[in-house]
């Protein structure tokens, strides 16, 4: 036996130390492993939970309140779920709010008017935006970037202030009337503010960049040899445009059109500032129902009805968007 007791004690302490280190290493390893295997789940979970709490749940609350009864209380609506005596959750659905929307002419008219205004505005944006996008695509080098910047710049400035700018132009004593009188075209100022005309101008002005940018992205990717081929085969430029260019840019037209149509339908600021009380649009009615009339259940029902109206365009947009990203 060569080993002395001191030696064995030394070995033991060494063993102990190395065991400690292993356990420390193991611990680091466990944490490391956890992150290596879980970080994907964690990085999805954080935005996921956020969106469920602050985006999905609120919709169910709106849906719930749209079926509630209006009360003069705080909060001003009846409870939808009630615990009855045998502790079963009883649910009372009241369709009165929706029936009210349907029976009251005002709401149906407002819906139809919103759709009319946003459809016409979308077409106007397309008629102005398409040639503009085409011209920008055909511009050369630095000029192209400059023009693109000019289209993007208004998007970064305040939306509210750009609508306000039109209040100054369209007012009775405004720039446009003064100009027309000065030019001798009219004698009396024309009333332009607080009309559908003013709302159209406001929407087209505010949403034109949203139409131009998707169209630009689409036109930019077009294969110009197709045009050359068509021209070489003797097609008239107008024929080339309608048979080659236009069909190839339909995805851009759809994306741009939906980006104008959807927000324009629910628009609040433009009809409120430029349309006044004369122009019925659903976004403004919802806002007033909630903030002035304090009829929350009806406001919630208006919101749900607006959502039903927009759900198909919104799904179309999502479909177009995911297809574009996959390409």
């Amino acid at each position: 036996m060569m080993t002395k007791p001191t030696d064995s004690a030394l070995t033991a302490s060494r063993l102990n130390e190395s065991a400690k280190m292993t356990s420390h290493r193991q611990w680091v390893h466990v944490v490391d492993n956890f992150f290596q295997s879980r970080w994907k789940g964690l990085s999805v979970a954080i935005p996921y939970v956020w969106l469920v709490i602050f985006f999905l749940v609120p919709f169910f609350i709106v849906l719930k309140i749209s079926f509630a009864e209006s009360l003069i209380a705080s909060p001003p609506f009846s409870s939808l779920f009630e615990w009855s005596e045998d502790a079963a959750l009883k649910m009372t659905l009241i369709f009165d709010n929706f029936a009210y929307l349907w029976e009251d002419d005002l709401y149906v008219k407002t819906y139809l008017n919103s759709v009319k205004i946003s459809t016409i505005s979308t077409i106007l944006c397309l008629l102005i935006g398409y040639p503009m996008a085409y011209a920008i695509v055909r511009a050369s080098g630095t000029m192209k970037y400059l023009l693109l910047l000019m289209v993007i710049l208004p998007f970064w400035t305040s939306f509210l202030l750009r609508v306000y700018a039109w209040m100054g132009i369209l007012a009775d004593q405004g720039t446009l009337n003064s100009f027309l009188i000065w030019a001798g075209i009219i004698d009396q100022p024309i009333r332009m503010m607080y009309s559908e005309f003013a709302v159209y101008i406001g929407i087209v002005y505010s949403y034109l960049p949203f139409m131009i940018l998707p169209l630009y992205a689409n036109l930019e990717k077009l294969d110009l040899t197709l045009h050359e081929a068509a021209s070489d085969l003797g097609a008239h430029p107008i024929t080339v445009f309608f048979t080659v260019t236009l069909p190839l840019t339909i995805p851009g037209i759809i994306a741009g059109g939906l980006l104008v149509f959807i927000p324009a339908t629910g628009e609040f600021v433009i009809p409120d500032l430029l349309g006044g009380g004369n122009v019925l649009m659903i976004g403004r009615v919802l806002y007033d129902e909630f903030n002035s009339n304090h009829d929350w259940p009806v406001a919630a029902a208006v919101a749900i009805a607006l959502l039903i109206l927009l759900v198909i365009p919104m799904m179309l947009y999502q479909h177009a968007q995911s297809r574009q990203i996959n390409n």
Binding site: T157, S158, G266, Y317
Partner: protein
């Protein structure tokens, strides 16, 4: 190309640009108008700028808006980058369809609906768990993060699909662990996208009126809310002065960004030419 069509395109382009810029130009011109009635010219003056700088109400609204915008942009960029990464790089995870829907819906959701639903959420939460006690800066910031993060996620997702996965695959083939690849390869490639997302989230927040008016409480008016309450009743010359300042700030920012972009583009072209001649 036939000349006739070019003239048509050029004239529509000029008309469109005039349509976009004349209103802003007039807004600026009338901010230097002495007259109290905005649309009647009463001589050159900077009195509205003086009254703007002296208005405490506007300053405190601006500070509130900036605070919300900065916090919003930072959180929205963090959450939106994670969401964009998930959409572009993690093919399969549970509830992916719902996630995609929740990312793209806020982009097109009418503001009145988002505002109303968030307000009802805050009220319900306040009743159930006592938070938030009162609405104001916190609730506005949360509302802004919710819609801004969707915009950031879309920017990040499209940038990631633009970059492609070759670099990441190369690193993985060389034995790097996925998390290392994410930190050393993917995130640096994403930095410009994250910057763009931050700026967009910042602007969206600074610009929002409808959602903020729904979820704000008494005493917390953001700048757009203050502007709205003033112009609702008609034209206000000091708002013209404020608009001029905002337009100038944005124009300078966009011009600098554009200048950098164009320079990069030229550099790339030069590099490509050099590579071609060698």
């Amino acid at each position: 190309m036939p000349k006739k069509r070019s003239t048509f395109l050029l004239s529509v382009l000029c008309f469109g640009m005039a349509f976009l810029y004349i209103p802003m130009f007039l807004l600026i011109v009338y901010s230097f108008n002495y007259s109290k009635i905005v649309s009647v010219w009463g001589g050159l003056s900077t009195r509205w700028y003086t009254s703007l700088f002296e208005s405490e109400e506007i300053w405190s609204a601006l500070m509130l808006s900036l605070k919300i915008a900065i916090v919003n942009a930072t959180f929205a960029t963090l959450l939106g980058t994670l969401a964009g990464l998930a959409l572009a790089r993690f093919r399969y995870f549970r509830g992916r369809t719902l996630f995609t829907g929740m990312i793209s819906a806020p982009l097109v959701m009418p503001e009145v609906i988002t505002g109303l639903s968030l307000l009802l959420l805050f009220i319900t939460l306040g009743d159930l768990i006592g938070w938030p006690e009162k609405r104001g800066i916190t609730t506005i910031t949360i509302a802004h993060i919710t819609f801004s993060l969707a915009y950031v996620a879309v920017i990040i997702e499209s940038r990631l699909s633009g970059i492609g996965e070759t670099l990441e695959e190369a690193a993985l083939d060389l034995g790097a662990k996925p998390l290392r690849v994410m930190i050393d390869i993917t995130l640096p490639l994403l930095a410009p996208g994250m910057l763009a997302g931050w700026l967009l989230a910042f602007t969206l927040s600074l610009d929002d009126l409808v959602i903020a008016s729904f979820v704000s409480g008494p005493g917390s008016s953001t700048l757009p809310m203050l502007i709205y309450s003033r112009v609702k009743l008609g034209l206000k010359p000091d708002i013209n002065a404020l608009a001029t300042m905002i337009i100038l700030a944005v124009a300078i920012g966009v011009l600098i960004a554009g200048w950098i972009l164009i320079r990069q583009q030229k550099q790339r072209q030069r590099d490509a030419q050099l590579a071609g001649t060698e």
